[in-house]
């Protein structure tokens, strides 16, 4: 190993040791990325299911006013709803006017009010008065609506039968034949790739940038602020070696963080694929996977160099944070924009735009589309941008005013 590479390795090694000795940094870099997707895809749906079950089991109280059919009242009572039958208020302009009942709902005395008025000829007008910010009231409305629509279907069917018509052929004359899912030629793996391509690129880009931010600041502005940088600059290593060592350390930390996030994602998808038909494991070739890794590495080279350069311009950790925090916005906007770009027939020049090129590349590769022209453009342009970022960073590291004061 040459002396220069040895010094770069020493600098990177020390930075990593210092970083992992801070348990808070480790928590943010290792634990959070590892659990974020399992928490999002497995735990959150379980919590939502449990909450939904709890709502469904609630005993509710609904006031029924006006001409409500006994069959509908029975159906509601069988669905854990206590019915209070009343006359329609006399002072309301129409059925949707809460009138004096407003306070009863707002004070949670009752959960909803179903109002119905028979307008003759087997037709009804109705309204459901609710307090939408109350979960009880929303649940009551939902249950009332469900039973109301079922009862409406019965009324319609009865009317059609009375007129000698078959409800099935009258209401649904055009029907799908066979299994609707078998008509899609995209495999479940390809469909999974399509779903994931809508958010994985953005998550990877944002996480790469944000996980590199804190170590970048700590190793540059942090060193300036703590006064350790001057001693380091007096050592027989070049500024480029110093930058390379710090870059390597930040890249390793960000790389580990992003890799752990991907591991967490794969675990979550595998779990979901094995326990439900909601999503399958995306179908991707080895080439696509390798190209995804290449795209992320090139992106990381650029982002880490850029963040190190910006942080090195700052006089303090606070100033570095002020400089770097908005850079995440610079990633989020193109990332959101890239999600809506149609990949079919996309012009090649899109793959030369900084940041957009990597995000589009990730989308295409998650769909297992390898278009040589696109790969060449994003790979070459990413290398060029990485070079520019590295050059900018090297300029910042060569500045003499990295050490302050005159005495």
């Amino acid at each position: 190993m040459s002396d220069s590479l040895k010094r770069i390795r020493i600098i990177a090694g020390k930075e990593i040791v210092e970083f992992v000795r801070d348990w808070r940094s480790l928590l943010a870099t290792i634990l959070i990325p590892l659990i974020i997707f399992p928490a999002l895809f497995i735990v959150l749906p379980l919590i939502l299911q449990s909450e939904a079950a709890e709502l469904e089991s609630l005993e509710l109280e609904v006031v029924v006013q006006g001409d409500v059919h006994d069959d509908l009242v029975s159906a509601l009572e069988n669905d854990r709803i206590t019915i209070i039958i009343e006359d329609l208020p006399s002072d309301i302009e129409n059925l949707s006017d809460p009138g004096i009942d407003e306070n009863r709902l707002r004070n949670s005395e009752i959960d909803a009010i179903l109002r119905m008025r028979n307008s003759g000829n087997n037709t009804w007008n109705y309204s459901i008065i609710q307090f939408s910010t109350s979960e009880h009231s929303s649940q009551a409305r939902s249950r009332v609506l469900t039973h109301l629509w079922e009862w409406e279907d019965e009324v319609v069917n009865r009317s059609l039968l009375e007129k000698g018509l078959d409800p099935d052929t009258t209401l649904d004359p055009v029907k799908w034949d066979g299994d609707i899912t078998s008509a899609d030629t995209a495999t479940s793996g390809e469909q999974a790739g399509m779903v994931l391509s809508l958010f994985i690129p953005m998550v990877l880009a944002i996480w790469t940038a944000s996980s590199a931010m804190q170590p970048s600041i700590d190793m540059t502005a942090g060193e300036r602020e703590r006064g350790t940088l001057e001693a380091l600059l007096c050592l027989p290593c070049s500024r480029i070696e110093l930058l390379s060592g710090k870059w390597l350390a930040v890249a390793v930390i960000a790389g580990v963080s992003v890799s752990l996030q991907v591991v967490g994602l794969i675990f979550a998808i595998t779990y979901l694929a094995s326990s439900s038909s909601f999503i399958a494991i995306p179908a991707m070739s080895i080439t696509s996977i390798l190209l995804i890794a290449t795209a992320v590495i090139l992106f990381a080279i650029m982002v880490v160099a850029f963040e190190l350069a910006l942080a090195m311009r700052a006089q303090s950790v606070k100033e570095a944070g002020t400089l770097l925090a908005p850079s995440i916005i610079l990633i989020i906007f193109p990332a959101l924009f890239t999600q809506v770009i149609n990949l079919d027939g996309i012009e090649s020049w899109w793959f030369a735009i900084p940041l957009v090129n990597v995000l589009l590349a990730l989308r295409e590769l998650l769909l297992d589309r390898i278009i040589i022209e696109h790969v060449a453009i994003w790979a070459l342009s990413s290398m060029f941008y990485s070079f520019i970022a590295a050059w900018f960073a090297s300029r910042q590291f060569k500045r003499e005013d990295l050490v302050a004061s005159l005495s």
Binding site: D3, K6, R7, I10, I11, K14, V17, E18, R21, D22, R226, G227, T228, L229, E230, A231, L232, L233, C234, L235, P236, C237, Q315, E400, D401, V403, A404, S405, L406, S407
Partner: protein, 272 residues
């Protein structure tokens, strides 16, 4: 006759429009302790940083032996004003980090570290994290770190500032012992008494120029004064410049914005 180890020829250093050092010629001989004495903003640290290679001269050249300084930085040990220790590393890890960059084997650095730590009375603290270290302990660690690779010349920027009497004495004793063993030390300080006690030669810097460069006794002889303090005052009688380097680093927009949001402070007139 002692050989010239470090030489500055026609060295000038400017930051934007501000000239921090003007035409400095200086020879540092081996086996000497050379004191750089001056007030705040005089240019001592700038001079030390030029010798340490942190700054490049705007004009002139700095040589080590007969070689350009840039290629000889491994022969220097530097203790900057801010000790610059990593608090999540132990004292030994801090020392080893610098020694490794100097290309010194861990075993060699360790043996030298233990020897120096014993001299400074901190051999029991080498395995401790530096986070809880006192100022004196930090300074001693920084000093060992600068010496562990066996440099030919040691640059010290106010090494006893803020230290208690015992720690300051330990640092001074070590520096004089190094000189006695043939080492070269450049010692920046505010304290004339300390310079007289420690240094073989005193270089007085004021407003970026060298006002005197001789032994303490010669200095008294040249100025005709009875004390070094009087000699210093005589040599630096012109008004000291304001410390402005930090200001020159600020961007124009940042400077304009800061001034825009600062209420006017009245200037002090000559009569006041």
């Amino acid at each position: 006759m002692a050989k010239t180890l470090i030489r500055l020829q026609g060295v000038k250093k400017s930051f934007a429009e501000i000239e921090a050092l003007s035409h400095v010629d200086l020879k540092i001989n081996s086996g000497q302790i050379v004191g750089l004495v001056g007030g705040n903003g005089a240019g001592k640290t700038t001079l030390l940083r030029l010798i340490a290679g942190t700054y490049s001269p705007t004009a002139g050249e700095v040589t080590f032996g007969k070689e350009p300084l840039a290629s000889m930085r491994h022969k220097l040990g530097v203790v900057p004003e801010a000790t610059g220790l990593y608090h999540r590393l132990t004292a030994w890890e801090n020392i080893r980090y610098h020694s490794r960059i100097h290309g010194v084997e861990d075993e060699v650095a360790w043996n030298r570290t233990v020897q120096l730590a014993k001299m400074l009375g901190m051999e029991d603290s080498l395995s401790r994290h530096t986070k809880g270290f006192s100022k004196g302990m930090r300074q001693k660690t920084s000093l060992i770190r600068a010496l562990a690779h066996g440099p030919e010349a040691l640059l010290l920027d106010e090494p006893t500032a803020g230290l208690d009497v015992t720690s300051a004495r330990a640092v001074r004793d070590l520096v004089m012992k190094l000189r006695d063993e043939g080492g070269t030390v450049i010692y920046s300080t505010h304290q004339l008494a300390e310079a007289r006690q420690v240094c073989d030669r005193i270089v007085i810097i004021h407003n970026g120029t060298i006002r005197a460069d001789s032994s303490p006794s010669e200095l008294l002889e040249i100025t005709g004064c009875d004390s070094l303090e009087e000699a210093y005052v005589q040599l630096t009688s012109d008004k000291a410049r304001a410390r402005t380097e930090d200001d020159s680093k600020e961007g124009r927009l940042a400077k304009w914005w800061r001034r825009l949001l600062t209420s006017n402070t009245p200037e002090v007139s000559e009569d006041e």
